[in-house]
């Protein structure tokens, strides 16, 4: 157990962090270079004001027509994204582990709060799963990878919840929790989850096109 724990909480953390960080930088730079080579006009058309205007509208709940048309989805999507980032970053247990390893720490949320956020993430994933199966227009677009990605996102939260509440087999779950978190982190730059990196750019670019050239809203 010691060796497994040491491995997943030691070198594996580094491996996943490096894949995540280097992956993000690589994806970003390679895309920027490809754009420079193939679509150099993208740089000319980027308009910071209109890009930020568009990003702001789409990061505001109910800030776009489509969000108002799908209120349930909007609420779930926003709570999901807020929780999926806040809960792990500001979880007390994570803060302690990081303090122990790197002697840095920051603000943390209460465990009750973390519990609620974790349940929100899990419930959102269930919602996304059901929506994917039930709604024909989503089902039509769905491939196996969509389910795999959804499972990858849900896994660290389910196992984390399990471990925290010390349900049966929580030691093994703890190990799986750490591993699944690392897998998720490493997968971000190379899957559809890369929208984390590219959202501001794709949104900003279309905001620039709509705003600066076409003088129209895009929300």
């Amino acid at each position: 157990m010691h060796d497994i724990y040491d491995f997943v909480s030691g070198p594996m953390v580094w491996v996943s962090l490096i894949i995540f960080a280097a992956g993000c930088i690589y994806r970003f730079i390679s895309m920027a270079l490809l754009a420079k080579e193939k679509d150099p006009f993208l740089y000319n058309y980027m308009s910071p004001y209109h890009a930020l205007r568009s990003i702001f509208h789409w990061l505001t709940p109910f800030g776009s027509e489509n969000m108002r048309k799908n209120p349930v989805f909007t609420i779930v999507a926003f709570s999901f994204h807020i929780c999926v980032v806040i809960a792990p970053l500001f979880l007390f247990a994570h803060i302690i582990l990081i303090k122990q390893s790197w002697n840095v720490s920051w603000w943390f949320i209460s465990d009750t709060m973390a519990d609620i956020m974790t349940l929100i993430v899990i419930a959102s994933c269930v919602f996304f799963l059901i929506r994917r199966i039930v709604r024909p227009e989503v089902k039509f677009l769905t491939s196996a990878s969509d389910y795999i990605i959804l499972a990858m996102v849900a896994a660290p939260f389910i196992t984390g919840f399990w471990t925290y509440h010390q349900f049966a087999g929580c030691r093994i779950m703890g190990i799986i929790h750490i591993l699944s978190g690392e897998i998720l982190l490493a997968a971000i730059p190379f899957t559809r989850l890369s929208h984390m990196i590219f959202f501001p750019i794709s949104r900003g670019y279309i905001g620039s096109e709509f705003g600066a050239i076409r003088h129209a809203k895009d929300w």
Binding site: A35, F41, S64, N66, V138, L141, S194, F198, R203, R214
Partner: protein
Amino acid sequence: MAESVKNAAAEITDAGIVGGAAKLTPEKIEKVINNVLKAEGGARLKTYVDICAHCGLCSEACHFYLSHDNDPKFSPAGKVKQTVWEIIKKKGRVDVEFIKRASEIASTECNLCRRCVMYCPFGIDIAYLLLTVRRICHKLGITPQYIQDTAHSHSATANQMWVKEDEWIDSLMWQEDEARAEIPDLRIPLEKEGADIFYSVIGPEPKFRAQLIYQAAVIMHVAGMNWTMPATPGWDNSDMCMFTGDFEMMARLKKIHFESAARLKVKKIVMGECGHAFRSVHDVGNRALSWKMPPIPVIHAIEFYYELIRDGKIKIAKKFDKPVTFHDPCNTVRGRGLHEMGRYVANATCETLIEMHPNREHNYCCGAGGGVINCGPPYKMSRIDGDKIKAEQLAAVKAKGAQTIIAPCHNCHGGLEDLIHHHKLDMNIKFLGDIIYETMEKPE
């Protein structure tokens, strides 16, 4: 999916697609696709395909989807799935049946109206993705025949309607003659170097709707504009090549157009009430010529009329008394945000303006744009069936009392006319120019 593609492809009768497909081999398809993807499919294509979360939120934006009772095959991302995703997944190794169907989806089941772009949380330009499919189909030579014919006309005559040079000049002189019966000193100044305004129209104006040139001449004359039209090719600002994916020809057309204006040393180009031509001149074609923005300022008729009325150059004698509604063409609203100016003109010239819903940037497409109406009779019914939602929108505004639809775009006129006729809506459609001409103060 393969089976349904085969069935759908088997039903295709369009001579352009069927004839083109007969000359294709899987090897050629693979080669052409990969050439296009490699040479032109840059960061945008890759990012858009990479990040799409398959969420389906674009669906409700599409009139084809809504009109087909939410059939996922007609959702924007659904159309991308049936074309771009498949092509990329198979690295271009798709068969002839697949590419026939892809051509039909991209050219006749999407108006490139960009409404879905406003509904995608990531701002994925779905219209660009389907235009890329049209580009591939163009290079494979399987573009639907009717629109390909207009593209041929463009390349042979630099206008969309096979109008010969002398026919163009003749049409202008004919309209000048007609108008002089009403206003004796009116001129349509041809080739006037140093004029302020270069007025350009689309091919169908001299061909089918010459009275629009008459009306524009009257408006120009009454407003006291210093304007001109060229007597050479370059008078036509329209651009079906932009919609077939023939970008080389698109660039040539825009070059001829801009150069005609430059030759006449005009201050700006004013365009007639056409949507797609404006998209080409203001947004897309200029880029193909490496101009970030058009080299000569380009103003759509909506904005031009707005300025004339705002500045008191045109005065309204008696407002149009029947209730009107305003249809925002995709290319002037999502293409240039001219919705408020359009309403300004409508309110200045009409007594009652009743809004249709949705409106402005969120208006439903007429179903004709993006070259879909130009795909001609083989696709007329699929186009009308694909925009049932627009007919419902029009019926709702008609129920509120609107009798006349103002649509400042040629394609919209074509599309709305077919919808009105098919659904027996009994409404009439006018250009802003029609209304201004009818209601303005004219010299006695």
